[in-house]
Every structure is written in C-alpha cells, then in structure tokens.
C-alpha cells in the first residue's frame, strides 16, 4: 500500500512507469503487434520524455471544473435565447459544416488515440495517448451540446453523424481520418498528433473560434476556450512524438519526413473548407484566409521547421504550391458549394456587394481578375430567375476526395489534372501532392469510397440526385439545402426580428 499522500512526481511515476510490466514468459512483440511494421526503429522507450505530467485524479478534477463552467454558459445561452444574438442567420451554416464535418473527427481522433494508447510499447506514450483520447471524446460531446441549441431553431443540424458517414462532401474529412487511422500507430501520431494538432489545428480553432466571437455565438466561443488547454497538451504531445522518433534512430528520419510531406498536404487540402468558412461564411469577418495562413502556417510553421532542421527534417514538400494556393482556394471552394447548393446540407449565397469589395481588398492580386466575374455571372443568372445549380456530378480526386476544382497555381483558369495507372485502372488527382500519396501506397487508395462513383454504382439509392439526398443522406430536401434566400431559416429569422 502506497503512502497516503504522494507528491505529483511520485504519483505520476506510479501511474505510468510502475504500471508497466516485463514480459517474462510471453513474447513482447505479440503484446504490441503494431510496433514494427511501419519500419520505425525504437531502441529505448525509457528515453521518452513525458510532455506533461498529469495524473488521472488531477485530470478528472481539472476537466470537471471546466465542464461545470462550460455547461453553466450553455444553459445561460439557451435560457436567454442566445441564437437571437448572432450577427446573421447565414452564420449558422458554418456551424452546420462544423457539426457534420469537424465534430465527428473529434470522435475519430478519440478512436485513433485509444488505439495508439494501447499499441505503443512505451508506457509514458501510452498514457499520454489515452488522456488525449478522453479529451477528444469530451470535445465531440461538448461540441454536440454547444450546437444542440441551434438545432431547435435552424435546419440542417438534425442528423450530423448519419450525414458524416454518407454525404458527398463529408467524405473529405471522414476519409482523411480513416486514412490516418488505417495507418500504423506511428504514422497516426505524425498525421494527427503532429501535422494536424501541432501545426494545422490553429488554423481551424483560432480563426473559427474568433469568428464565433465576432458573430455573437457565445456557446461556440466558450466551447473553444474550454478545449484550448486540452489543445495545448495535444500540441506538446505531437512535438514530443516527432522529437522522440527522430532521436531514436537515424533510419526514422526519411520515414518521418515522408509522413510529414503526406500529412501536411492532406491537411492543407482538408483546410480548404475552413478557408471558405472564413472568407465567405462568417458575416462579420475576422481576417482573410490568406492572412490566417500567413500568421499560423507560414510564420509559426516556418519557425517550427527551422527547429526541426537539426534532425535533418526540411519543410514539407509542395510548400511553394501551398504558398500560392492561399490566394485561390477559398474562392474556388465557395464557388463549388454555391454551384452545388442544391446538394449541400446547408445554405449557400452570393456574397453581398460589401463582401465582394472586402474580398477585392484582401486579395488584390487575384479576386477581381479571377473570381469576381464568377459572382457577376451568378448575379446575372439569379436576376433572370435562373439561380445557377450545376446539373451534373463532378469528377473527384482519388486521395482528398474533393471535386477536382483546384487550378494550376501558375494558370488559375486551368483545372489541375494529374493521373496514374495502377493494375490497368486509371486514377485521378487534383495535384502533385495527392498524386504522390497514391503512388506511394496505391493498394490502399484503390479502396477510396468516392461518393460520385458510389452513386453511379447504385449504392446510394437514387436514381436522381434528389432521391439520394432525401433517402440516403436523410436531408430535408427543399429545407436543408438550396439558397439562403427564401430558405425557411431566413424566413424564421425575419419573423423573430420583425423584418418583413
């Protein structure tokens, strides 16, 4: 029996190192079967530096305090009809994407970290991953609770987990995490723990939570604050994993570099949707996507890679392309959703004249030249009573699963097409980044569940798009989708606000 009062250091040692055991009569490699197949060499797990020393009782105490505060604010938000204080009902459409596209990723992160929290041979790493798994579970729950209030007043939030599994554009975030979880535990940690949590999550959380604040959404802001201290721990873990792998064996360096190249590329593709939320969906703008990218990726990420240079790690491949893309991707993405507004689970709209001018100001080199004309065309068609909805299904990229909407960065009116032949079949990609990921592991990606092809194969109901939306996606057709103008969301808002 341990002494009654242990200090934190002792407690932590007992919780982690002393809970481990040696394998005297069983084969250790059978207890940790996932540890070797990725080619990563771990010579000494005892060199693992715990990124944070949190014991389970401290963890519970700390999280419980945060929960109490968080739920008090959710209650106040609901009782005071907080939904009426948002800037504009268009804002809620960003929440619809968040709940259907991002919150289920928190759940996938929970599943992934639970797996690594079992499979790593080092006990310190296992405990850190297990705690992150519980954090992620908490995040999905608190996000669902933060947004459940909106579900009472706005359309499109009613069936988020069903939608995440089926809707065409949600296959983008879903397949991103499926790819990471189907990899080995070390790749998962570089993908999610490092590339995503350490570098890219800032681009999701900081601008998005500021966006919530700018638009009067106190429920989401409070959730963001409540998650922030967890995120800080996750970032520390991500960085520790990278350093540990690089210090353990020099043979790990090229493997880790390959994963960094892959997951930064996949991450930037995934963030395309955030770029469009920031530039087009927040009625009160925080900053442009380009500005956010410069602050959180180029400056913060640049400093990080300078630090990692001493291990022989360089900037992620395609960094030059990524730098050019910040001028384009948000515009290309919102246009895609606008033109597919009949098949989206949220509303889309033409930016107001003030917003178009804001975009011109923020993107002086590209917006007026390439993107304003699209909105002029959309306005012209809308004025004629022919709101533009695309009438055929788009070609998708086999890797990121995004419609092939990205252009050549040096020729922004030309779609970027890449392809590859494997075992006699042709596969298409939006970029060199996605192409190279396929080339490295084609046998993995021949299994991509591409929504357009699944519809053609008859696996999603049909035959018409509307049948797929209603029966397979379980959307309320004519209510959840179509333009913001004339939507039930807009009608209700006007009634609440007494606007004709």
């Amino acid at each position: 029996m341990a002494a009654k009062k242990l200090n934190i250091k002792d407690k932590y040692r007992l919780l982690t190192r002393d809970l481990d055991w040696d394998f005297s009569y069983e084969d250790r490699s059978k207890a940790f079967p996932f540890e070797e197949f990725e080619g990563i060499k771990i010579t000494d797990w005892s060199k693992w530096e715990d990124p944070f020393r949190l014991t389970m009782d401290t963890y519970w105490k700390y999280q419980a305090e945060k929960e109490r505060k968080l739920y008090a604010i959710f209650d106040a938000f609901a009782q005071n009809n907080g939904q009426l204080n948002i800037s504009d009902p268009r804002y809620v459409n960003a929440l619809k994407i968040f709940l259907t596209g991002v919150s289920p990723l928190e759940y996938q992160a929970f599943q992934g970290f639970a797996h690594t929290g079992r499979q790593f041979g080092g006990v310190g790493a296992r405990v850190a991953c297990q705690m992150q798994a519980i954090d992620e579970l908490r995040h999905v729950q608190t996000q669902v609770h933060a947004m459940s209030h909106y579900n009472k007043f706005f359309d499109g939030l009613q069936d988020w987990s069903h939608m995440h599994d089926r809707v065409w554009y949600l296959s983008v975030p879903k397949s991103f995490f499926n790819d990471a979880r189907a990899a080995g535990p070390f790749e998962f940690m570089v993908a999610i723990g490092f590339s995503f949590e350490y570098v890219l999550t800032n681009l999701l959380f900081v601008p998005f939570m500021s966006g919530a604040a700018y638009n009067g959404d106190m429920a989401t802001v409070t959730f963001g604050f409540s998650a922030q201290s967890d995120e800080a721990r996750h970032m520390t873990l991500g960085l520790e994993v990278i350093k540990f792998l690089l210090e353990q064996h020099e043979d790990n360096v090229p493997i880790v570099q390959k994963w960094i190249d892959k997951w930064f590329w996949r991450g930037t593709r995934l963030l395309t949707i955030v770029s469009m939320m920031m530039d087009y969906m927040l009625p009160n703008k925080v900053m442009s996507w380009k500005e956010a990218w410069e602050v959180y990726f180029e400056e913060a990420g640049g400093a990080l890679f300078k630090d990692l240079a001493r291990y022989g790690i360089r900037m992620p491949k395609y960094a030059e392309t990524i730098e050019k893309e910040k001028e384009h991707v948000s515009h290309q993405a919102w246009w895609t959703f606008y033109t597919h507004g009949h098949a989206a689970g949220f509303h889309t709209w033409i930016p107001s004249d003030e917003e178009l001018d804001w975009l011109s100001e923020k993107y002086p080199d590209t917006f007026d030249k390439y993107y304003r004309p699209r909105w002029e065309l959309a306005k012209e068609m809308e004025a004629k009573g022919e709101r533009f909805y695309t009438k055929a299904l788009p070609q998708l990229c086999t890797i990121c699963q995004i419609p092939m909407l990205f252009t050549e960065m040096d020729d922004p009116t030309q779609i970027s097409y890449r392809d590859s032949i494997y075992k006699g079949d042709r596969y298409h990609f939006c970029s060199d980044g996605c192409h190279d990921i396929f080339e490295d592991e084609p046998e993995k990606y021949v299994q991509s569940w591409l929504p357009v092809h699944q519809i053609f194969q008859g696996n999603c109901g049909g035959p018409d798009v509307e049948d797929v939306l209603r029966d397979y996606y379980q959307m309320n057709v004519g209510v959840d989708n179509m333009d913001m103008k004339g939507s039930p969301d807009e009608e209700r808002w006007k009634k609440w606000k007494g606007v004709a």
Binding site: F34, T336, R374, T390, L405, R426, Q457, G458
Partner: protein, 120 residues
C-alpha cells in the same frame, strides 16, 4: 511496396472497377478555361455509346448553362483524351476509340475566353 500494411501481401478491394458500374463505364468531360463549372463532369455511360450521343445528348444538360455553349464551333474545337491530343470520331463507340473506364476528355475552345473573358 504498394502499401504499408500489417497484413503480409495485403491487397485492396478496387472499389471502382468497371464491373461495379452495372454495364457502364465512367467518362469525365471538362471544358478548359471555363470555370463556371468548378470541375469536369462525370458520366456513367455504356462503353458502346457513340461519341455523338455523348456530345449531343449527354453533355448539353450540364454544359449548356454556360453563355458561350451555343457559340462553340465544334469544327475548330480541339480535344484531349487522357492528356494526349485526340480527334473524336462522332459515330464510333467510346470504347472503340480508346475512351476507356475513367478516361478524361477535355475540350478547348481558344476563341471563347469565358464569361467576361475571365476564364469563367
């Protein structure tokens, strides 16, 4: 190694093999420098479909929304099939002129610069 898997000699299930499309093959068609359409369109078509049917019966529904569609002079439009120059034969089946499953057809109309001459 075609995949880094814990299972030795892991082989993936090819989700988009032609056999899964109920007698159809997928053909993609894109109009270069016309980004009113955000991406190339995907069509499930019987491989025996003559090119004329694709051009005259399948493509117009989606493409004709473009203000320049009516102005296309098909005698001067150029085509590419899977990144190579291509001269379509109108009355020949797709499969008999090299347009296979998941082939990409692109057409160019250099005299048409898109809405407001902006490649839209």
């Amino acid at each position: 190694m075609p995949v880094q898997a814990i299972t030795p000699d892991y082989v993936g299930d090819i989700k988009d093999r032609i056999e899964n499309f109920n007698g159809n093959q997928v053909v993609y068609v894109g109009w270069d420098h016309h980004l009113m359409f955000c991406a190339a369109f995907a069509y499930p078509l019987p491989p025996e479909t003559p090119f004329r049917t694709l051009l005259e019966e399948v493509m117009p529904e989606g493409f004709s929304l473009h203000p320049e569609w009516e102005k296309i002079d098909w005698s001067t439009a150029t085509w590419m099939l899977d990144s190579k120059p291509f001269a379509p034969q109108l009355d020949v089946a797709l499969k008999d002129q090299g347009i296979g499953h998941k082939s990409l057809l692109r057409f160019q109309t250099p005299e048409l610069k898109g809405y407001q001459n902006a490649g839209v």
